[in-house]
Homo-oligomer: 497 residues x 2
Amino acid sequence: MAQAQKITPRAKDFSEWYNDVVMQAELADHSPVRGCMVIRPHGYRVWELMQRALDDMFKATGHQNAYFPLFIPMSFLAREAEHVEGFAKEVALVTHTRLKATGKSGAQAVTPDPESALEEPLVVRPTSETIIYAMFAKWIQSYRDLPVLLNQWCNIVRWEFRTRLFLRTTEFLWQEGHTAHATEAEAEAEARQMLGVYRTFQEQWMAMPVITGRKTESEKFAGALRTYALEALMQDNKALQAGTSHNLGQNFAKAFNVQYQTAAGGLEYVWNTSWGVSTRMIGGLVMTHSDDNGLVCPPKLAPVQVVVVPIWKSDQEKSQVSGVGGQVKAELERAGIRVEFDTRENLKPGAKYFEWEAKGVPLRLEIGPRDVAAGQVMTARRVGGKAPAKLEGIAKTVTAALEEIQAGMFKTARDRREASSIRGVTKQQFIDFMKGAGGFAYGGFCGSGACEAEIKQQTAATVRVLPDPDFRSPEAPKTCMWCGQPSVAEAVWAQAY
Amino acid sequence: MAQAQKITPRAKDFSEWYNDVVMQAELADHSPVRGCMVIRPHGYRVWELMQRALDDMFKATGHQNAYFPLFIPMSFLAREAEHVEGFAKEVALVTHTRLKATGKSGAQAVTPDPESALEEPLVVRPTSETIIYAMFAKWIQSYRDLPVLLNQWCNIVRWEFRTRLFLRTTEFLWQEGHTAHATEAEAEAEARQMLGVYRTFQEQWMAMPVITGRKTESEKFAGALRTYALEALMQDNKALQAGTSHNLGQNFAKAFNVQYQTAAGGLEYVWNTSWGVSTRMIGGLVMTHSDDNGLVCPPKLAPVQVVVVPIWKSDQEKSQVSGVGGQVKAELERAGIRVEFDTRENLKPGAKYFEWEAKGVPLRLEIGPRDVAAGQVMTARRVGGKAPAKLEGIAKTVTAALEEIQAGMFKTARDRREASSIRGVTKQQFIDFMKGAGGFAYGGFCGSGACEAEIKQQTAATVRVLPDPDFRSPEAPKTCMWCGQPSVAEAVWAQAY
C-alpha cells in the first residue's frame, strides 16, 4: 500500500485531480513504456465486472466470442482507402524478429538483427476490421452462413501523443463486435441494437447518463457508412465519447471480397457492422462520479461494495467487535455482496476510512462496542449520509442501500448533465457558453463541414452527435445556430476529450 | 458451416489427423499472418471455460488479476543475461509508428515512415517478467507489501518457425502469474502450489493425466532458479509440456532492483515466481482424447455438453418430438447443463450426428416418435455406448452420465499413458523404445548435460521431468541408464512436441 497522499481538489486542477484519483485508488499506474499504462488489480477488477456484464448482454443477443491475430499485414490496411488514411499516423509497426548482441554492455547490449527484417511489415492492430473480414471471406459462402455475429476481447495499439491514464493510452483493452448480414436493413438494426446495449450498460451499471446519436461525416469511423456514438458529460463539462457502433455498409466486404450466394442464386456483398467499448469507460466512470476524497464507484461495478471496520480500545472490545464483524461479513457474502472486513491492527479506523474512501467503496459499516451493545452498526455512504442499521436483517438493509446508492448516483449525474446543457442556442449564446463553463449545447445545424470546421476552430467544440429521438429538444430547430441556413438536424456540441 | 470432410485416420498420419480434427470441429483456422491462428467460437468457448475454472482457483489461492503493457523496451530484456539469450531469436520488434503513402497502388501503397523510427525498439512481450518486475520495484518498499500475488491473462508473441494450430503459434493466449515473496521458502512453496493447481485443473477438468516434476538445467526457463512442469502423453506417444511454474530466485529482483525493508530494518531482494498455461492446452486436450470421428471433449470443458436431436417423418411426428425435445432442453438448462436442441430442417439426423460428433459433444439425446410413446430418449455417448433413458428425471440421468464420461475419459487416458510407459529401463531398452512406439521412459540419470545431449542426439528424446514423489518408481534407480554412473535422480524421457 503506497503512502496516502492528498488529492488535488477538482476545482483547482481537474486534470491533476483525475490523475490523483486514479493513482490513489490504485486503479492504474504509469509504465516505463511511453504512453502505456499498467492496470492495477483494483482497476482491473472494475474492468472484469464491466466485461462480465457486457459479455452476458452480447451472448443474450446471439453473439459468440472469437480471437483474431494481433498482427495485420501492412497491405491489408491499405485495401480500404479511408481506413488506412484514418490510422496511418498512429500504428505500431513490427519490422524485425530477432535481436543480436552488439558486444556493448547495458542498454546497448542488443539491437534488431538486420537479417531478420520482414518482407512485409506487420501492423499491431489499431482495430481489426481488415483481418476479421479477410477471414469472413473464407467462412461465408451462402445466405445460410448469415448472419455472422462475433465479438472479441483484446488489446489494441494506437500510437497516441498526448496520453492520459485510461482516457487515451497507446495500448488499451476493449471489445470489438464484428458482424456480417445479408441486407443493409439487418446491418442497420444490428448497429442500433448494440448502441442500445451499450446505453443500457452505461446507464444501469456505470450510472453514467449518455446521449446517443449519429456522428457527422467528419467524426465518423474511417471506413464506415454511418457511425453511432454514446456521449457522456464529465464533471468539467467536457464530453467523453464512451462507445461507438458502426454500420460499415459494404465498404470492407468489397475491399476483402466477402460475398455470399443468395437464396435466388445470385452473388452479393455482405453488410458489416462493428462496435466497441474500451477501458476508456473506467476514465469516464471516474470523471462522472468521483470527488475530492477520491474514487466514487457505482455499487454494481465496485470491486469492494461494503467494507466492515471494527472499532475497539481494549482487548475485550476487540474480541466483541471482531466476532460481530465476522458474522456480518459472512452474512453479506451469503447474500452475494462483495465485502471486506478490515481487521488490520496497525491502522486506526480513521486511516482505514480514508483509504477505502479513496478506493471508492460505496458503503462502510462501522462496528464499535456501543453498536454491538445496541445490536446495530453505523452505516456511512461514500456519497454522503450516516445512519445506524439493525444487525438483524443486515444483508437486506445493505442490499437495499446499495440499490439506492446506484440509482441515486445516476440521478445526480443526470441532473448535473442537464444543468450543464443548453438547448436552442443562438450563435452568441453558443460562443459565450463554450467560453464559459461549457457543457452540451443543442442547436440547429445546416450539416455543412465548413460550419463544423469554423465552430471547432473558434470554440474548440465539435458535434458530439446528431441526437436520437430520446434526446432531441421538444421543438426541432429551424435554422443552423451558426450560419442561419436551414437546419437539417439538431446537433449536440461540446468540447471533448 | 463448412462442408463436412473426412478426417484423416490417426493411424495413417497423426499430424494430418490433428489438423483435420481442429479444423472440422471449428476450433481454429489458419490466418493470413504467418504462424498466427484464428481461434473460432467453438475453440474460444473451450478457452473461456478453461479460463473461468483456472481464474476461480487463482482467486481462491489469493491472487489478483492485473494488466501490464504489451511492449517491453528492448534494453529491459538485456538486463537478465540468461533471459535475453533465451528469447533473442524469437521476438517481434516494433521499430516504427507511422505509415506513409508511396504513391504506388495495391500492396505497395504504404510503407513505414522512416521519420517515425523509435529511438529504442520495443519488444512485443514473449513473457512479462522484465516489465512486471520493473513495476514491482516501484510498488514494493517494505516487508508489509509482501507477498505480491498477481496474474495476468494476455496474448504473447514468440517468433516461431514450425507452427501448428494451438501447439506452437507465433501469437498465443495465456495467463502468467507473477509473485514476490520475502523468503526463498515462500517462493518455493508458491511455485509448488501453482504446479498443484495446474495438476488439479488438467486432471479434473481436462481429464488429462500429467506427470509433475522438475526440469533439468538445460530445459529450465531462461532466467529461473528452478522450473517445474507438467507433462502429458499424447496419443502418438509424444510428450506435451502442458504448463510450467518457476522459482525465479532473486535473479530478476537483482536485475530490476526489487528490494524491501525487512522487519529488522535491513534491505533484501525479493524472491519471485512465475507460472503459466496457455491455449496450447487445447491442443493437448485434442490429442489426448479425440478419435477418427473428430473432437472428443471432456464434459466440464465442452461448449455444448448435450445435443438433443429430434427424429420425425410426418408433420404430426415432428410436432410430437419437437414438444418433448423442447421440454428436455428446458429441463437440462435449468439443471445448469449446456444444451443445444438441433431443430434444423434442412439436415437429416445422421448428418447432425456426424457434425456434433466432429465438434466433440459428449452426449447426444435422440428423440423419435417411438421414444415419445415409450416415455424415453435414446442416449448416445461420444466415447461410445447407446442406451435408452426415461424422460422422467432426465436431468439427473444426464448429469450422472456426464460425470461418468468425465471420469471415464481420465481413466482411459491414464491407462493409455501407463501402457506406453516403461520403468527401470536399460540403455538398450531405451534405444529400442524410442525407435519403436515411444512413450514415457523412466530410468536412472547421472545429472550430466553431456548424457542429456547425447541421448537427444541419438534418440530425439529429452528429459521431460525429474518426477515428483507421486510419480516416481517404487524402487529408486541406482545408476544412470545411459552412462552407468551413479544416478542422482530418476528421470522421465520422451520425444516431445
